[in-house]
Symmetry: C3
Subunit: 307 residues, 3 copies
């Protein structure tokens, strides 16, 4: 089995067949992760470089765990202590790393487009672990895996994504992927935190929380980056919480069976009260568990390993 794509740069141009193949494979790996021995020999002898130019805990650890459970050999590379500070170009850095005969690169970078650029200067398989405000495709895949796991399907489901849409690569990847899978996506944020040309994403947009969540099957919260507030993008944390934060009362406006999701890390008491984050309709920790399975699936399918 192999995918149409050779790299995972984003979900914008990934077909429904490829997304389905990844989700099916992730379901398989989720079973492996419930075994006592969670390691499979799939990528033994393959070298994967984790190239993280931005700080990250959960994504880096999730990828590293996925790599180790596939028996790949991960090498971690971060900016501090690197020749980047000696003025080397990104192209030279990646070509040097590739010249050491690596197989795959997982890259996170503050600038949109870096993963695509890397495909143009190396032969290694590139997986985007988040690039600027552009895409974060494995996050959207694990979100869809989690929804399908709980609700049995994706097609026709209504999803509300609430929060700082403007700066969110998670929202963007989910919008593309969910549209492809036939889902009905509504983005909800104050006007200052909405992107301008949302029509190109093919989704609905609203500034009114109630409109977004009242008939949604899934409500996904995004954390407002609090440093935005000092840039005037929202008036105060208290006001954000009042209008867009989900507490028990707002949850009561949703359908009884709506799922609560969040890509983490959560600001408890801002976009999500603890009574909601920890309730039984929250699948936030399932998302984390499924993250490892999803990344195993992506590494496996792009790495050409035998299952």
């Amino acid at each position: 089995m192999s995918l149409q794509i050779k790299h995972l740069l984003g979900l914008k141009d990934v077909s429904r067949e490829d997304i389905t193949a990844i989700l099916d494979s992730a379901d398989h790996f989720a079973e492996v992760l419930n075994r006592d021995i969670k390691t499979v020999p799939t990528l033994r002898g393959k070298t994967v470089v984790n190239f993280f130019y931005e700080n990250s805990t959960r994504t880096r650890i999730s990828f590293e765990m996925a790599e180790k459970r596939l028996s790949a050999s991960p090498l971690n590379f971060s900016t501090s202590g690197s020749s980047v500070s000696k003025g080397e170009t990104l192209r030279d850095t990646i070509q040097n790393i590739e010249a050491m005969k690596i197989d795959m690169v997982v890259v996170r970078h503050g600038s949109a487009g870096v993963p695509k650029f890397l495909t143009e200067c190396t032969d290694a398989t590139i997986i985007n672990a988040g690039d600027g405000y552009h895409e974060h495709p494995t996050q959207a895949l694990l979100d869809m895996m989690t929804i399908r796991q709980r609700l049995g399907k994706l097609e026709g489901l209504k999803v509300a994504i609430v929060g700082d849409i403007l700066h969110s690569r998670v929202a963007r990847s989910n919008a593309w992927g969910m549209k492809t899978m036939g889902m009905d996506v509504t983005l909800c944020a104050p006007t200052t935190l909405l992107p301008q040309h949302t029509e190109s994403l093919g989704v609905k947009v609203t500034t009114k929380l109630n409109d977004a969540i009242s008939d949604a099957d899934v409500v996904m919260l995004l954390r407002p980056q609090l440093e935005r507030q000092t840039h005037g993008l929202f008036p105060s944390v208290r006001e954000y919480r009042t209008y867009y934060g989900i507490d028990r009362d707002k949850m009561n406006l949703m359908r009884d069976d709506a799922l609560i999701m969040h890509p983490g890390p959560i600001n408890r008491g801002v976009e999500l009260e603890s009574e909601v984050a920890d309730c039984e309709r929250s699948v936030i920790l399932d998302q984390v568990t499924n993250g490892v399975a999803t990344r195993m699936a992506v590494l496996y399918l792009l790495g050409g390993g035998e299952q």
Copy 2:
């Protein structure tokens, strides 16, 4: 074989049977470490997260080496570059890590009680690698292993622990563990570096070095943290060295067969002169070697691996 404890949070409430089982297992692993191939498949496929919120060299490397020699898959997590700086709660961080299906967590943290707190919010096995001024149980276990290795027993032996007792989790863990094993413990320090309620530890306390060391089977030195001096806890490094530092003359006040111990790192020329640190009665490097074996034993016994 399994222990009564499910986590290693400290030695305060660990039974003599459990301590003996760990020391016996550590002796076994010490033999493994003398082989040419030092790796055993005991924990193959298990994931251990090293969660170090405080800087550490020897403890982190010792645990990582122990994990690798048991064929576990270690993941290192440190505060810098983590979502801790994004305001995530400790509970959320650990629950996220646990959701990735890890088996064990080795944790070092500047606040006493963090390891215990973690047992309340995750199902993973927790091993305390040092929490604030509270406990550092694997250090005390390796100290006892080293004494038993050299002197053939623990019961009835006299131990003097000299130095900054007030701020030492090593002293505290040793006091609890050694009392349980029937040893006779004396803590020795200037008044300002002694804790206030030492009677609860069930040990003798003195400010006079000679009283502590003259009939001890084991003299364990602790490093005074030099930054304490600027807080007025001792008058000067020179004065500390004069009254509590061990040189050849002070060593001559000890019994001829007394062991010299130190958990490291040593301030040479402060609490210990090189002529003492490097003499044949010093077992300081044995402690380091035994640290790996002790940690292998703890990981093995708590990890439920097959030997």
Copy 3:
């Protein structure tokens, strides 16, 4: 097969037989690296500590990759977060690490002589990964491997090394090693960037680029460390580039078949224009690839592994 040397501290006193054995073994490992499965079990169960006191990307990753491909178990140790900052001596640090039963130490340090010092206080095998302005022997070995791979021999070949010779451990290791292998070495730099007692190296020295490169089989560029310029060692980057940087015109002064080499990272537009760095006569990425093979050979031959 084993070497006359027990450690790799530098190339100054390494025999032609030992260098040849390392290069032959590296050629073998280069073939392994072209296989789909690049891992061999040679050093399974051996622990190698990467002890990097200076920032490094490519050298650390290259060593770590070499260690993993030999199935050794690498442990990374860097200064930040280490007990070095607590005032521990280097001798104590290394003896502590050695007491954990490690087999080999790869060390990079800002001070010349540290690798040699380590051989005096531990029994572990020491490999120098760069010490101050002294030596960087694995770099010189990979350079010679690359030349031999392309030109079929070393004996009698003419090499020009151009750039900041004064501060270059790469130049020094290459000068020693290449002399031993019967090569004809010319060092070329402005007077302020040349060492004073070059006669001891047994090489030619010139300040005129044309004299150095016109009949060379190999032209190796070194990056001028731009911070030197502020110390008055060269007048300006523009002047350095004019007189010592290689562009298409300067390349036309060389022989048609001369190889272009650089240990990286490159300052494009200073010592090397992109049109030269990326031309077909440039073997810069081959050097990187060969670095992993060379380090595998050194680790294998000094580690006493079975091939």
